[in-house]
Structures are given as structure tokens and as C-alpha cells.
């Protein structure tokens, strides 16, 4: 998490919180009218853009997760994905495709993670039904064992336990514009799926019986949602680590639930909230680096931001309620 002081002409060097946001807005404006080519983006901008993408897609997915009370399954998915990553590394190492330490092919990574997501969901359901275990126990059992397996495989295969740590914590400073592309592909795919199946998701979330009666399979939507979760976490694991994805999936929807009563508005608020937190988080990291000369982990700061923002929303909404009641 050592911050690479890349170029001498780094535009954000020495900027404080507000200056950062201001400059960011200006440069984004220039980007949108085409004055700034994409490959000239500074690393901070890539960070912000990636995090915004992650926050968008995870807020969308997370809203449904929270409403369906499946966040713990998402938690276990984010752990088991490590095995998916290992498999992907393994496959590319055998096919001899990429060189050395660079990331394996994104398709392989995506495929492996989807597979692991499926396996995790299936195993958990299997243990609950066939093994006659409580749901929480089977969830805990499956993901911890798979994760332990993943950690050991990583340590043995790569001779280095650093990847494991990095996958958990994330390393936002090692991003480049290729990650940007994939994050947005997944975000758009998620948005597209939700727009396409909005009615079905809505229905299967709130009334499983009705869904079945109308001839849709609730299981199918569960697996679809899980596939989306694994896709989201795999694209963002390099940027922010799987745990921050989790924070992005639970925090914004919870905050949005306080403010909104309808599903549309909840989704909207959650996305907005996530995006704001991502931007503020990166700005704070830069601010701390400038003012106190301490390089903090961006992923950690963003999740702290989410916590703080959530608490603020809590207090604000509670005082709102109180004033309404008095009136």
C-alpha cells in the first residue's frame, strides 16, 4: 500500500480535500468534452472512477441482497472467490499465456469466479437441506473451509502469502485503465439485468409464493443474483479487496432504506450514496497524504467513509422523524 509517487507532473499532488474535488470535477468536465484523452488519466482519477463503478454496481446488487436477507451469502461468496482467483492463476500459468505476475485473463477470472459463486451457493443450500444444518451454520462452514483452502493454495502455489492479503484488503494504487473498462462492463451489465428483470426481481424478493404461482423460478433469480455478486466482486477485488465490496453492498442500501419507501427510490439513493462515499473516500486519502504525509489504504478509508455517512444518515433521519412527530 505504498503510494507510488508516479510522475512529477501528477496533477493531484499536494491537493487538500476541497481542492481535490474541485480539480476532479474540472478534469472530468474536460474528459467528457474530449479535451483529455483517456490514457492521460491520473491514478487518482482511475481510482475514483473505478470506485464509483464498484459502488454503483454493488449498490444495485446490494439493495436486493439486503431486502432478501442474503448478505451473509454475499459475504461467503466474497471469501470463496479467492479460490476462483487461484484457479484462474493456475489455468493461465498452465496455458502459459501471460507473463509472470500480471493478472490472468479477465475472461478466465470471471469464469472461475462465477463457477465458485455457483459452487458456494449450491453447497450451502445442499448442506442446509441434506445435511439438516441450520442455514447460518452451513454458510459459515462452507465459506470458511473454502477460504482456508484458497489461502493454502495461494501460499503454496505462488510462494507468497501476499496475494491473499491483497485480495482481502485491496490495493487501489495498482490500478490501471484496463480495470476501469471491466468495472464498467459489469456495472452496466448489472444495471441492464435489473432493468430487464425488474418486475421479476421485485416480485421474487417480496413474495416467493406469487413468483412460483406465476411460473417463474425463485431459485433461478437467486442464482442470477449470486452470479452478479461474484462478477461484481471479481472485477473489484483488485481495486478494493473483497471486504470493501461487502461494505459497498450493505452500507448504501441500509442508508437508502432509511430515506426511501419504494424500491425505485431505494435503488437510486443507494447508488448515489455509494458514489458519494467513493469520491469522498479517495479525496480524504489524498488529503491525508497531502496534509499529514501519511499514505492510507484507499479501500479502508472508503469503508470508513461509508460507516460515517451511514451514521450521519441515521442521526439525520431520526431527527427528521422527531420533528415530524412534533409537528
Amino acid at each position: 500500500m505504498f503510494y507510488p509517487l508516479l510522475a512529477i507532473s501528477h496533477p493531484y499532488q499536494g491537493k487538500t480535500f476541497w481542492e481535490f474535488l474541485l480539480l476532479f470535477m474540472q478534469r472530468m468536465g474536460r474528459l467528457s468534452i474530449g479535451q483529455l484523452p483517456i490514457h492521460q488519466l491520473a491514478s487518482d482519477e482511475i481510482q475514483v472512477l473505478v470506485l464509483v463503478g464498484v459502488a454503483l454496481s454493488s449498490a444495485l446488487v446490494g439493495t436486493f441482497l439486503v431486502l432478501r436477507r442474503m448478505t451473509m451469502l454475499a459475504n461467503s461468496l466474497s471469501h470463496t472467490i479467492l479460490i476462483g482467483i487461484v484457479i484462474a492463476y493456475f489455468l493461465t500459468a498452465f496455458s502459459g499465456g501471460t507473463s509472470g505476475d500480471s493478472l490472468p485473463n479477465m475472461y478466465v477470472l470471471l469464469g472461475a469466479s462465477l463457477f465458485m459463486g455457483f459452487v458456494t451457493t449450491f453447497l450451502t443450500a445442499f448442506l442446509t437441506k441434506k445435511g439438516r444444518l441450520q442455514e447460518d451454520a452451513s454458510t459459515g462452514l462452507v465459506f470458511t473451509s473454502l477460504f482456508a483452502l484458497g489461502v493454502i493454495l495461494v501460499t503454496v502455489l505462488t510462494r507468497d502469502s501476499h496475494i491473499g492479503i491483497e485480495a482481502v484488503m485491496g490495493n487501489a494504487d495498482a490500478l490501471h485503465s484496463k480495470d476501469l473498462f471491466w468495472v464498467y462492463v459489469v456495472a452496466i451489465a448489472n444495471a441492464f439485468i435489473f432493468i430487464l428483470f425488474f418486475k421479476e426481481f421485485n416480485m421474487s424478493t417480496f413474495d416467493e409464493g406469487l413468483t412460483k404461482a406465476l411460473g417463474y423460478s425463485p431459485v433461478f433469480f437467486t442464482y442470477l443474483l449470486m452470479a452478479q455478486v461474484s462478477a461484481t466482486s471479481i472485477t473489484s477485488f483488485r481495486a478494493v479487496g473483497v471486504l470493501l465490496v461487502l461494505a459497498c453492498m450493505t452500507g448504501p442500501p441500509l442508508a437508502a432504506r432509511l430515506l426511501a419507501k419504494r424500491l425505485h427510490t431505494t435503488l437510486l439513493y443507494a447508488a448515489l450514496f455509494g458514489v458519494c462515499c467513493a469520491m469522498i473516500g479517495v479525496a480524504i486519502t489524498r488529503h491525508v497524504l497531502t496534509v499529514y504525509d501519511i499514505a492510507l489504504s484507499t479501500a479502508g478509508v472508503v469503508s470508513c467513509t461509508i460507516l460515517c455517512c451511514y451514521l450521519i444518515t441515521l442521526l439525520a433521519s431520526s431527527s427528521c422523524f422527531r420533528s415530524k412527530r412534533i409537528n
Binding site: 459459515g140 462452514l141 432509511l258
Partner: protein, 422 residues
């Protein structure tokens, strides 16, 4: 080892309260505390004294875990956040704080950074005597409290209202219980690591659940499984590290102990899930297969005996009456031959004396049940067959006697077929 011991004891309670994932949230919430402890020790320049550092780490971890649990409760009760979302939210954000603090530690207390990281996945290799004394004291404390409050815990886990009504201070014991969980998580964090600590709460308890129906035994088994996995996990991790260092001496890999312990625990768990005498999957599967086998045997005997017990029959004729694959049928026939129920003459089979007796008995059971249904339960005669098809395999000799007494030694079933005498 000792750490897993206390964790597995607490795991039983957590498991019975259906809060298995609480451990996950707690262990993650303890992480910022560990880092804070490291930072505090670093800022007071206790770099050398091992015992002080671990003391601070324990304190820090305890505090943040406590804060985390309080926040989860607050969110659930005050704001009606769904419990899983509250857990997930707290664990990820607290861990985020921990990650932030870690980067800070890396920056300002570089020598302590490695130690902070080792708490993620656990590293038992660097432990000294002081650790052992400290941790065994804590584990012993947990054990004592569990034994001392055994009765209260028992009543409270199974029936909260009853506990309240007989005057047990539920709130206080609840708090004590949470303190114990936090303690065991904090103790375990050193060897298993915060990321996987929850497995040590869950896996031994699940394994023990398969073996016992009694709370005391449940505790004992769980503790045994915990100890076992702790010991072998450590052993394997040391062993493999040696092997790996022999293969590649330059790499200096240290296999983390945590994942190894967890893997051992899960292996035990899977084994018990498969093989436990009453609830095991494999055992259940065997029992089903055996029942299927005996039913098929009896069905074959019955279908032969109903037509004519003395006539010989061929493989194809049987195949028409039974809906099973021919391979399985051949295997069953071979078994029946070995039991002396049928004999083979070229390609045709015929019943032996004992086979005939057995066949008559099954037909008798079938028809007795049909008669019972129609006379006592008032079921119409054309509907009793299907039920009798199933019951004929289940009726015991005692039931048969009772039935024949009840029906006064009948000779004819509702379809006017003769009932063979016993």
C-alpha cells in the same frame, strides 16, 4: 490448541442460539482493536517486551469486538435493520477501519507491521512461553465459567422465558456470555487469525451436533474436536512448511496455521456429517439402500408366491413385475440364492421351502393390513392396496400378532383372497 478448545466450547452455545455468523462479525470487528493495540504498544516503545504487546493487543481486540457487538444490537433493535445486514455491515466497515489503521502502522511502525499481518491468518510459530501461560489462563477461565454457569446456560439457550420466570438474571448472563464469546475469539485470533476465526466457532459444534443429543456430551465432543483440530492443524502446518522449505529453500514460505486448523476442523465436520450413526448422510443413504433392497426381495417373493409358489419363473417374467434395472435384479437374485430363498435351474428359478414360507408371510402381512384398513378404518376395498404395498415391508412380527388378534384370525381379505396362516 487451547485456543481452539475455548472457541469450540463457546461455539456450542452460539450454534444452539442460531447465531453462528456472529463469530464472523466479531472476529473481523476485533481486527482494528488488534491494530490499535499494536499501535499503542509501538507508540509507548514496547518493541522488545513480547508480553506487553500481546497484552495491549488482547485489550484492544476486546474493546473493538465489544463495540462491534453493541453496534449490531443497537442497529437491530433501534433501527430494525435485518440481522444479517447488520452483521455484514459492521464486519466489513470495522474491518475497513482495521485496514486503514494497518496502512498507518505500516507507515509509522514498520517493525510491528509484520506482526499485525500475522494476526490476519494466524501464525503460531513465533509463540513463546508467556503466550502459552496467558492463553491457557484465559482458556481455563472460559472453561470454569461454562462449568459454573452450566445450568443457567442450558435453561437460557433453550427457553428464555422460562429462565426469566424462575428468576435467572438473563440480561447479566447474556452479557457474560457475550464476553466469553469475545474472549474466545480474541484468544483464537493469534493462532487461527481473524479472517477464519468464525470457523472455529462453527465447525466443532456442527461436528459435535452429529454425535450427541445431550448438552453436556455436546460440549465435551465439541471441545474434543476443537482440541484435535487445533493440534493437527498446527502439526500439519509445521510439517508442510518444512517440506516446502526443502523443495525450495530460497522461498521462505511460512504456511499460516489458521487455514490448516480450519481445514482439519472441516474435514472432521464433513466426516461426521457423512458417518454419524443417527444423522449421517452416508448412513442414511445406506439405510435407504438397504430398505430398498429388502423391499425388492420381498416384492419378488410376493409376486411369485401370489401366482403359484411351486411354479418356476424366468428372469424376464420377474422383470415385468419389478421396475428396476436388470443388473440390480440379477444382483438381488444372486443374493436371494445365497440366502437360500430361491434356487436356479438353468435359466429358470423356483422357490425353496424357506422362500415359500417367507413369501407366504409377506402375502399374509399385505392382506392383513388390507383387511384392517377396510374393517376398522372404513377404507373402501379398492383403495387399500397401495397402502398395503408399503406397509407390508414395515410391519413387525409383534404388530402382525396384534393385527391377527384384533381381526380374530381372519382367513379372507377384502378382495376375497385367502390369507395364509402364520
Amino acid at each position: 490448541m487451547l485456543m481452539c478448545f475455548s472457541a469450540s466450547l463457546m461455539g456450542v452455545i452460539v450454534f444452539l442460539r442460531k447465531q453462528s455468523l456472529l463469530g464472523e462479525a466479531l472476529s473481523h470487528a476485533a481486527y482494528p482493536g488488534i491494530i490499535a493495540g499494536v499501535m499503542f504498544a509501538g507508540s509507548l516503545s514496547f518493541d522488545e517486551q513480547e508480553s506487553w504487546i500481546s497484552f495491549f493487543i488482547l485489550c484492544g481486540a476486546f474493546c473493538t469486538a465489544w463495540l462491534g457487538i453493541k453496534m449490531i444490537h443497537w442497529l437491530q433493535e433501534k433501527w430494525r435493520v435485518p440481522p444479517d445486514a447488520a452483521l455484514c455491515f459492521i464486519l466489513s466497515t470495522f474491518f475497513g477501519i482495521g485496514v486503514t489503521a494497518t496502512s498507518e502502522v505500516q507507515f509509522s511502525f514498520t517493525p510491528l507491521y509484520r506482526r499485525a499481518l500475522s494476526y490476519l491468518y494466524g501464525q503460531a510459530a513465533t509463540m513463546t512461553d508467556i503466550h502459552i501461560v496467558l492463553y491457557s489462563c484465559l482458556a481455563f477461565f472460559v472453561l470454569c465459567v461454562v462449568i459454573f454457569f452450566y445450568k443457567e446456560l442450558q435453561i437460557m439457550t433453550f427457553d428464555q422465558n422460562y429462565a426469566k420466570s424462575i428468576g435467572i438474571p438473563v440480561k447479566k448472563i447474556d452479557a457474560l456470555f457475550f464476553i466469553l464469546i469475545i474472549l474466545s475469539v480474541v484468544i483464537g485470533a493469534r493462532s487461527v487469525g481473524v479472517v477464519l476465526m468464525s470457523a472455529m466457532l462453527i465447525a466443532p459444534a456442527v461436528a459435535a451436533r452429529q454425535c450427541s443429543h445431550n448438552l453436556a456430551l455436546f460440549f465435551v465432543w465439541s471441545a474434543i474436536f476443537g482440541l484435535f483440530s487445533g493440534f493437527f492443524g498446527n502439526y500439519f502446518s509445521v510439517q508442510f512448511t518444512e517440506i516446502l522449505s526443502q523443495i525450495s529453500p530460497h522461498a521462505r514460505i511460512a504456511l499460516p496455521t489458521g487455514p490448516m486448523i480450519v481445514l482439519v476442523a472441516t474435514t472432521i465436520c464433513i466426516l461426521t456429517l457423512l458417518l454419524s450413526p443417527t444423522r449421517g448422510l452416508f448412513i442414511r443413504f445406506c439405510r435407504i439402500a438397504y430398505f430398498q433392497y429388502t423391499s425388492t426381495c420381498e416384492n419378488i417373493l410376493k409376486s411369485v408366491g401370489r401366482i403359484d409358489p411351486d411354479r418356476s419363473f424366468s428372469l424376464d417374467q420377474i422383470k415385468k413385475t419389478q421396475q428396476i434395472s436388470s443388473l440390480y435384479l440379477r444382483w438381488i437374485l444372486w443374493h436371494m440364492k445365497r440366502k437360500g430363498w430361491i434356487e436356479q435351474d438353468n435359466s429358470s428359478f423356483f422357490l425353496t421351502q424357506s422362500g415359500k414360507a417367507r413369501s407366504a408371510k409377506i402375502i399374509r402381512l399385505h392382506r392383513l393390513w388390507e383387511l384392517y384398513l377396510s374393517t376398522y378404518l372404513g377404507v373402501e376395498a379398492d383403495r387399500v392396496h397401495r397402502s398395503a404395498e408399503e406397509m407390508e415391508h414395515i410391519l413387525t412380527p409383534e404388530l402382525e400378532q396384534e393385527l391377527s388378534l384384533l381381526l380374530v384370525n381372519p382367513t379372507q381379505d377384502p378382495h376375497h383372497q385367502p390369507i395364509p396362516p402364520p
